[in-house]
């Protein structure tokens, strides 16, 4: 059938038919041709506008391999994969195309009806697939998959016995503040062993924007260093699973394509068109944030990163009244060098070890505030009210 010499006019059509040939060899129900995604998956509704999904099947294949096989630190056999935010399912399909022994079960979490149309048929085509029409953003979703027994065959493995042999979490990260919140929350589940971590050291893989990756991987004195970087560094090893150049240019690999819409209010990194990367995340065996200490880490990091360029000796007073006394504990000359902090450094220059010492001092300080929920500072307008 490829004997025909295509004329210029047919070239593009033919290219698609070739692709189709490629997918039609698969037993999986096909996705629409990439050129039609723009029309089929409208990016105008609020719920889908913020979603960026893999579109090119070849790229999806590369990423799937980088997550689960070969060079990946989380490779293995008989995996139970939970995939959140799959979009129409390019990556899901690529995962299913991996050698059959690789994946034992694929649980897909997706609540967008347009995408579900292309995901549901996977269940029929491959018995390993389970599509749950709920959002990966809600904690309820995970309780739900547990309740309906999808995780019954997941073993609980003690943290110290290495990576979890079965469970693996994969997700596209939403291109919005919500995506950033989600990954921050997931990191925060590690120290206390909540969420999937109650089963053990579960590896995770993400397709996420380069902006979030920059923030996760920032080390001092990088100006992107933030609370997320410190928590990430404290809880897990994050590595790029694939050369970022392979995902460029953006428009060749992802949906939706770059828009030129000028009235766009979102900042650049949160708009479609910003480069994406693929990342593997392996929780540390030894957790620096001990159980029950997470709130204090959160509090100190959040407060101090507000003044990220102010030297610690000045910034520390904004923690609580009298917090300057903590400086004594941090600079106590009776302590070995490794247990002292250079208080001339600004929060963004502090290393993980420095932070651990700051939080220890905070924990030991008798006047540390008890109520660590910062957002409560604003109650309502004015105690003196005027009845109108």
């Amino acid at each position: 059938m490829l004997n025909l010499r295509p004329s210029g006019y047919f070239k593009s059509t033919l290219r698609w038919s070739c692709r189709r040939t490629f997918t039609s060899q698969s037993r999986l129900p096909p996705l629409p041709p990439p050129s039609e995604w723009k029309d089929i998956f409208s990016s105008s509704t609020v719920s889908s506008r913020d979603r960026v999904s893999l579109r090119a099947p070849e790229t999806a294949q590369l990423i799937a391999e980088s997550f689960l096989s070969g060079a990946s630190s989380a490779n293995g056999e008989g995996k139970i994969v939970i995939e959140a935010f799959p979009g129409p399912g390019a990556l899901s399909r690529a995962l299913l195309e991996l050698p059959a022994s690789n994946i034992q079960k694929l649980i897909i979490l997706e609540d967008h009806p347009d995408y579900l149309k292309y995901l549901k048929p996977l269940e029929a085509a491959d018995s390993r697939v389970k599509v749950v029409p709920l959002s990966g953003f809600d904690w309820d979703t995970y309780s739900h998959i547990e309740e309906i027994g999808l995780l019954d065959d997941v073993k609980t493995v003690p943290w110290s016995s290495g990576l979890h042999p079965q469970l693996h979490f994969i997700s596209h990260l939403q291109h919005t503040i919500k995506g950033e919140q989600l990954i921050a929350q997931l990191f925060r589940c590690i120290p206390d062993g909540t969420w999937l971590y109650k089963y053990g050291r579960v590896p995770m893989s993400f397709v996420l924007s380069d902006w979030v990756w920059e923030r996760i991987s920032a080390v001092p004195p990088n100006s992107n260093r933030c609370k997320l970087s410190v928590i990430a560094e404290a809880t897990a090893t994050c590595t790029l699973s694939l050369d970022p150049a392979k995902l460029l240019p953006y428009d060749d690999h992802f949906h939706p394509i770059t828009t030129k819409y000028t009235a766009e209010k979102r900042p650049q990194p949160r708009r479609p068109g910003y480069p994406l990367v693929a990342m593997n995340l392996i929780p540390h065996d030894d957790q620096l944030i001990t159980k029950g200490m997470l709130e204090k880490w959160d509090f100190c990091l959040r407060r101090l990163f507000v003044l990220k360029s102010t030297p610690l000796k000045k910034a520390i007073s904004s923690l609580a009244p009298g917090a300057q006394t903590m400086l004594k504990m941090l600079t106590d000359s009776s302590l070995p060098d490794s247990q002292r902090v250079d208080i001339g450094k600004a929060p963004r220059h502090l290393t993980l070890a420095d932070w651990a010492l700051v939080i220890r001092a905070f924990d030991n300080w008798p006047f540390a505030p008890e109520d660590l929920m910062i957002s409560d500072a604003f109650t309502r307008q004015n105690a003196v009210r005027v009845v109108l």
Partner: protein, 1321 residues
């Protein structure tokens, strides 16, 4: 003509008043009272049978007359100036110079520098207009002081400067003219340096005027010599007496017998004894007052004395009383005002209260600290138990610190030289501050910082803290106010009181109005002359001064806190800062806050916090100072503006201007009426409240000492289940929020109790001012009748009046209303009370231990107060003669809708809100609820999920807030939120369904209201369209600049070349301005926000500069106009009622649309309420508004480009007729039809005016077409229609011709209201 001076003066002024006195007010009390006495039985409400009051006729006449508009130029974009605008709107750099000048003059801090600034200001147009006589006088005074004081070894130069200034004033080379004060100063200069008897070493000044020359100049300017010789410039009796002699001598030489006599009188007035009975105990011998006979005075219109004639010599008594300036002034002021000046002793406490607030505070704190020392409680641990002790300690440390810091700044500034104000842009943090910091003593500065910061805790929604920017501004402002207060009381002149009605005229006749104005102007002049000149500070100066003080305070203020070391279990004490600075996130924005140490905030809810209160937070002990000008009135010494506005220079300028035009007399008068209503604390209620407070338990809106809600339990699976954790955290957050609210409630109740306690047994007054819509509010923020149920329960009128039969009945109805039983007719409400007499008596006798019936009332504390009063009345020997001081309320039933219905003549709407005659009160909320239920029936048939779920659940309460706020323009989003809250509160609808259900109900409710109040809707739309058009318009004189894209604007760094679109946007500076029927100009302040960054040592704060106007926010201008307009009307109705009550001698108080009076006066007030409402709405309010717009915005143009994308302007077509445009010149002259154009329209515009039918049609089509396309058009891509192309040819249209026609008026006749029983009930 035999009369003593006093009685003479009281009757004499202003003279014409007497001739025209009408018996209008005679129609009041006695006759009326008998007329309303029902013969038998209880008719629900008795309208007066009498013909309309004469003064009501006057009022109607007044309202029908054309209101005097206050017109100012539209503010210019910030990169432009012109002299007219500079005159009305001062920019910040100029204001800064003024305030530095003011501060440098004070106490001769740096007169050469002040002089430098003064000369610079005089050289520019901008500055010159700001320098009035008082500024010149300040300089002359400062120069003379310098000669006498700082530079006494070389006085010549200074005295010469003073004479130079005088000559410039006298020679009219300036905008300002000499005043009495100027002459007094120059007389002093002459006496000191030129007279033969020279008080000081004589100096020869060639250009010095001798007294004769000065006298001639005075006479030319018609300035009475008496005012000159009694001027505050004279500080010693000696000098004043010498001045009189010198002038007399000159007058004799010049043969001016009148002047000689006048001076003679002044001399003798000064030698008079004060009325001995006024403040001397009886035991003292009574001295005979000198007789003053045959004095004739002539007064100018504004009350000044222009001539005094004494016939016959004044007999000299045998005993000589030394000449006394004080006495002279006191007597003169009586003459000037033709009324008694506030007696010193009556005012003494109030004066003391305001005068020495900081001194008193210091004394109290010190006393407390000493007390503890004596008791041996001074060890650290014990000390920390008392707020006052801490404040005292901080104060001790802070004042020393401040002194050192200020000295340091002064040195630094001296070192840097005088270049500071020239580079104000780069002013370092504290540079240039020294003059301001030297205005007050370090001791006062210290106390201000402490008190303000303590008082601000809990504001701005910050638990246990405050926003930094606000705190810095507040502290800076407090320093400014204190400085001004010091200036106000420096001369210690008597303060005029409003002695109530001094004229026999109705407020509303032309004569009465002029009379009011004359009196006010006279009093204002007197007050102004009595005070030193001061000027407002800019926000930047306030923030910097505030920052300096707060920073120092935060550094020194500490508390001792104890805790337990977790590792060792030992108790540790730590000295911690009392305040600390931190950041919070508010809706994604980083916001600096100053927070209190937890130890302190805990105490704020428990201990006495009187020390943090300033008199400007308290009620007054004397009648407020009457409003004499925009910033003269209310408290005696604390400067307050008559209007509260937030950073809008435009509003300030309009107000000032309106005041000087005399357009605000009735606003001032009605605020005086409100301020003069005497109140007292209801002792019975206070005792009960105190008992509850001290018990620390929760009771009827009094929060408990310890928050009593159960803390959420931590779920078992907290550690493993993120969902359970999240739910727990949400609940925890909710709990923390509840606790924080409890704390702030506790603090606010604490303030109320504290204030009530301080004024037990006193008669108190609430000075009032207005918001920018003209609604009146009492100034004290914590305790007033406008406050919550508790505040209202604690207050009662200062005077009691016998109940009478009707009063007793109204007292009962009031009780039923407060309980919440207010939907029934009056008879049923009375029976309700009769049925519950047992409960009522029990509540009165055993409020805390009994059946607690009152606690279930809607307004429990007021209900309790009424129970007590009713019981007392019923058990008194004759209930009808029982003296009752409890206010009874009459509330408008949905007042906003009442105004709409009256405006639109909407018969259906009028019925719903009780404008019409009904035998039962109709309740619009119930009606709408029923309408919604009915509408839902349809949906139930269609098996609609929410219709089925909600059937029978749409109660009055669910829709009430939404119905009420529709008139104020509530949006669908807002309505849905309100309804969701109500549905949630019901508790019988699943929480997760509430949101969608609320959405459904909100839609239905809005639909029903739209149907019901079609009249209101039409008016709202009309108002909204007008405002939208106005906000888009450009004043005629800006057209060229707005279209000239080639021009560059601004200078230097800021120079910008703009595109046409951005320039047009920048030029849209026109806000919606209108005048209320009482003459108050209302300016909507909504403009683009632009904040300026100021670096302080604490943090960088962003504040907006009110003196730098930005373009208007058109959508806010439009959406806020209907509610603002309605508020301006309800405010007008209230003020009319207040004035009429005053005329008829009825005590009156109001909370916006709730009017209060004694029970026995309710019938009378009810008549007044109706009369004023009818008078107001018979005056074609909307028509007059339309007329005003036509005048005010005459010549204003709307850029066609800004009309393109709008989908409003319904019905603009018919009136849209004229189209003009710069490019229209191409049209040949023959096409120009000027036939029915007003002539001035043509001459005003050199450009031709096109009037062809074709062009009209095209433009209209173009304007309308985008409306239709609007929906289909996808974002961004502008579609060019042929019509749009046509419009580009015509860039502007006339605003006035585009204003939509007035909505059709319905048939309802407002005078029907007279017979409506439940209109206000």
């Amino acid at each position: 003509m035999e009369t003593t001076l006093l009685s003479y003066s009281r009757q004499n002024l202003p003279r014409p008043a007497r001739l025209y006195s009408t018996p209008s007010k005679r129609a009041n009390a006695p006759a009326l009272a008998t007329a309303t006495q029902p013969p038998s039985g209880y008719p629900p409400y008795m309208p007066t049978a009498q013909p309309t009051d004469a003064s009501v006729n006057d009022m109607e006449g007044f309202l029908r007359r054309r209101t005097s508009y206050t017109m100012l130029p539209t503010p210019l974009p910030d990169d432009e100036t012109n002299p007219l605008n500079d005159f009305y709107f001062t920019d910040s750099p100029t204001q800064d110079l003024l305030s530095v000048m003011d501060a440098c003059l004070h106490n001769l801090y740096d007169v050469p520098r002040a002089k430098g600034i003064f000369e610079r200001l005089r050289a520019t147009d901008k500055g010159e207009v700001l320098l009035d006589s008082r500024v010149y006088n300040s300089f002359i005074e400062a120069f003379l002081e310098m000669a006498l004081d700082k530079d006494s070894d070389q006085p010549a130069g200074w005295v010469e400067d003073a004479w130079k200034l005088f000559h410039e004033l006298d020679g009219e080379q300036t905008n300002a003219r000499p005043t009495a004060n100027t002459y007094a100063l120059m007389l002093l200069a002459w006496l000191r340096y030129n007279s033969e008897s020279g008080l000081i070493k004589p100096l020869a000044f060639t250009d010095a005027h001798d007294p004769a020359a000065l006298l001639r100049s005075m006479i030319d300017r018609q300035i009475p010599v008496t005012l000159v010789v009694s001027d505050r410039a004279f500080t010693s009796n000696d000098e004043a007496s010498q001045a009189i002699q010198a002038l007399s001598k000159a007058a004799v030489e010049m043969g001016l017998s009148k002047i000689v006599n006048e001076l003679g009188m002044a001399e003798s007035l000064g030698r008079q004894e004060a009325d001995p009975l006024e403040d001397v105990p009886e035991a003292k011998p009574v001295l005979r007052r000198k007789k003053l006979e045959n004095i004739q005075m002539t007064h100018a219109e504004d009350g000044r004395i222009v001539d005094i004639e004494v016939q016959g010599p004044i007999e000299n008594d045998s005993y000589e009383i030394p000449f006394n300036l004080e006495t002279l002034r006191k007597h003169l002021s009586q003459v000037v005002f033709a009324r008694r000046v506030l007696a010193e002793d009556v005012a003494a406490r109030q004066k003391l209260l305001e005068e020495s607030v900081y001194d008193v505070a210091v004394e109290r704190l010190k006393h407390q600290a000493e007390l503890f020392d004596e008791l041996g409680l001074s060890n650290k641990a014990m000390k920390s138990t008392d707020l006052r002790t801490w404040m005292w300690e901080w104060h001790q440390k802070l004042q020393i610190r401040l002194k050192a810091e200020i000295d340091h700044i002064v040195q630094e500034e001296n070192r840097l030289g005088r270049k500071i104000e020239s580079k104000s842009g780069e002013m370092k943090r504290s540079a240039g501050l020294s003059p301001f910091l030297s205005l007050l003593t370090p001791e006062k500065l210290s106390l201000i910082a402490i008190m303000e910061l303590m008082h601000l805790q809990g504001t701005g929604g910050v638990a246990d803290g405050m926003k930094t920017a606000r705190a810095l501004l507040a502290v800076g402002k407090a320093v400014e106010l204190e400085h001004k207060a010091e200036m106000c009381k420096k001369s210690n002149l008597p303060i005029p009181t409003s002695s109530g009605r001094t004229s026999d005229h109705s407020f509303f006749t032309r004569l009465g109005y002029r009379d009011l104005q004359a009196r006010r102007v006279a009093a204002r002049k007197f007050m102004e002359d009595a005070e030193d000149w001061t000027t407002d500070w800019t926000q930047v100066v306030r923030v910097k001064v505030g920052s300096f003080l707060v920073d120092a305070l935060m550094d020194v203020a500490t508390v001792m806190r104890t805790g337990v070391d977790k590792r060792t279990g030992e108790a540790i004490s730590e000295e911690q800062p009392a305040f600390f600075h931190s950041y919070e996130y508010l809706r994604g924005y980083k916001l600096g806050v100053i927070k209190l140490n937890p130890l302190i905030s805990e105490k704020m809810a428990k201990e006495s916090i009187r020390e943090t209160l300033h008199p400007r937070h308290l009620p007054m002990l004397v009648k407020p100072k009457p409003w004499l000008s925009h910033d003269q009135g209310g408290y005696l010494y604390n400067k307050t503006w008559v209007m509260r506005f937030k950073e809008s220079q435009e509003q300030q300028s309009y107000l000032r201007h309106a005041s000087s035009l005399g357009n605000l007399e009735l606003i001032y008068a009605s605020l005086d009426v409100l301020g003069n209503t005497p109140w007292k604390i209801n002792r019975r209620i206070f005792d009960i409240v105190l008992e509850v407070w001290n018990s620390g338990t929760r009771w009827c809106k009094i929060p408990p000492a310890a928050f009593d809600a159960p803390e959420p339990e931590k779920p078992e699976n907290f550690d493993t289940d993120p969902r359970a954790k999240m739910i727990y955290l949400t609940r925890q957050k909710q709990y923390a929020l509840g606790r924080a609210n409890n704390h702030s409630d506790r603090c606010s109740v604490n303030y109320k109790i504290e204030i009530a306690r301080a004024f037990l047994g006193d008669t108190i007054y609430f000075p009032h001012n207005v918001d920018f819509r003209g609604r009146a509010y009492p100034l004290p923020p914590h305790l007033s009748h406008i406050g919550d149920d508790l505040s209202r329960g604690l207050l009662m009128f200062g005077e009691a009046k016998p109940l009478g039969e009707r009063g007793l009945r109204w007292l009962k109805i009031h009780l039923a209303n407060l309980y919440g039983y207010d939907k029934a007719n009056f008879d049923e409400r009375v029976s309700f009370v009769h049925d519950h007499l047992d409960d009522i008596f029990d509540s009165a006798d055993n409020p805390l231990e009994g059946k607690k019936w009152w606690t279930k009332a809607d307004d429990p504390w007021q209900c309790l107060a009424t129970c007590i009063e009713l019981k007392a009345a019923l058990q008194s020997p004759d209930p009808h003669t029982y003296e009752c001081a409890l206010p009874v309320h009459q509330d408008g039933t949905c007042n906003g809708l009442q105004h709409y219905a009256a405006l639109g003549g909407d018969a259906q709407g009028a019925r719903q809100v009780n404008l019409d005659v009904t035998d039962r009160p109709s309740d619009v909320y119930t009606f709408v609820a029923e309408m919604v239920e009915k509408a839902m029936e349809e949906d139930v048939k269609l098996d609609h999920k929410y219709a089925k779920m909600l059937t029978g659940k749409i109660s009055r309460k669910v829709v009430k807030q939404t119905v009420m706020t529709t008139v104020y323009g509530v949006t669908f989003i807002g309505a849905r939120e309100q309804i969701e809250k109500q549905l949630k509160d019901r508790g019988d609808i699943a929480a997760e369904e509430c949101w969608l259900a609320a959405s459904y109900v909100a839609k239905k409710v809005l639909l029903c209201i739209g149907d019901l109040f079609k009249g209101a809707k039409d008016i709202q739309t009309w108002l909204n369209s007008c405002a939208r058009l106005i906000a888009k318009s450009i004043p005629p004189d800006r057209l060229d600049a707005a279209t000239d894209v080639e021009r560059t604007f601004g200078t230097g760094r800021k120079m910008v070349k703009s595109t046409e679109a951005t320039r047009l946007k920048k030029e849209q500076m026109t806000s919606v301005v209108w005048t209320t029927p009482l003459g108050l100009p209302i300016v909507q302040p909504y403009r683009a926000t632009r904040r300026k960054q100021i670096i302080t040592s604490l943090q960088t704060v962003f504040i907006s500069d009110p003196n730098s106007p930005t373009s208007v926010n058109a959508s806010k201008q439009a959406s806020a106009f209907p509610p603002n307009f309605i508020h301006s009307l309800d405010a007008t109705h209230m003020m009319l009622t207040a004035l009429e009550c005053k005329t008829q001698g009825v005590t009156f108080a109001s909370v916006h649309d709730s009017y209060w009076t004694h029970p026995s006066s309710i019938d009378q007030m009810s008549t007044i309420i109706r009369d004023t409402f009818i008078a107001l709405h018979s005056s074609d309010v909307l028509g007059k508004l339309g007329d005003e717009f036509l005048q005010r915005y005459k010549g204003y143009k709307i850029p066609v480009s800004s009309l393109k994308n709008t989908s409003f302007i319904p019905g603009f077509g018919p009136t849209a007729r004229r189209i003009s445009g710069s490019k229209a010149k191409k049209q040949s002259a023959s096409e120009v039809d000027l036939a029915d154009e007003p002539a001035d329209e043509v001459s005003e515009e050199s450009k031709s005016v096109v009037r062809t039918g074709d062009a009209d049609a095209q433009v209209l089509a173009a304007l309308q077409s985008p409306v239709d396309v609007g929906e289909k058009k996808k974002r961004g891509r502008p579609s060019v229609t042929p019509a749009a192309a046509v419009m580009d040819e015509n860039k502007f249209v006339d605003l006035t011709s585009f204003l939509p026609p007035l909505p059709q008026k319905g048939v309802f006749d407002v005078s029907t209201i007279k017979k409506s029983l439940y209109f206000f009930s």
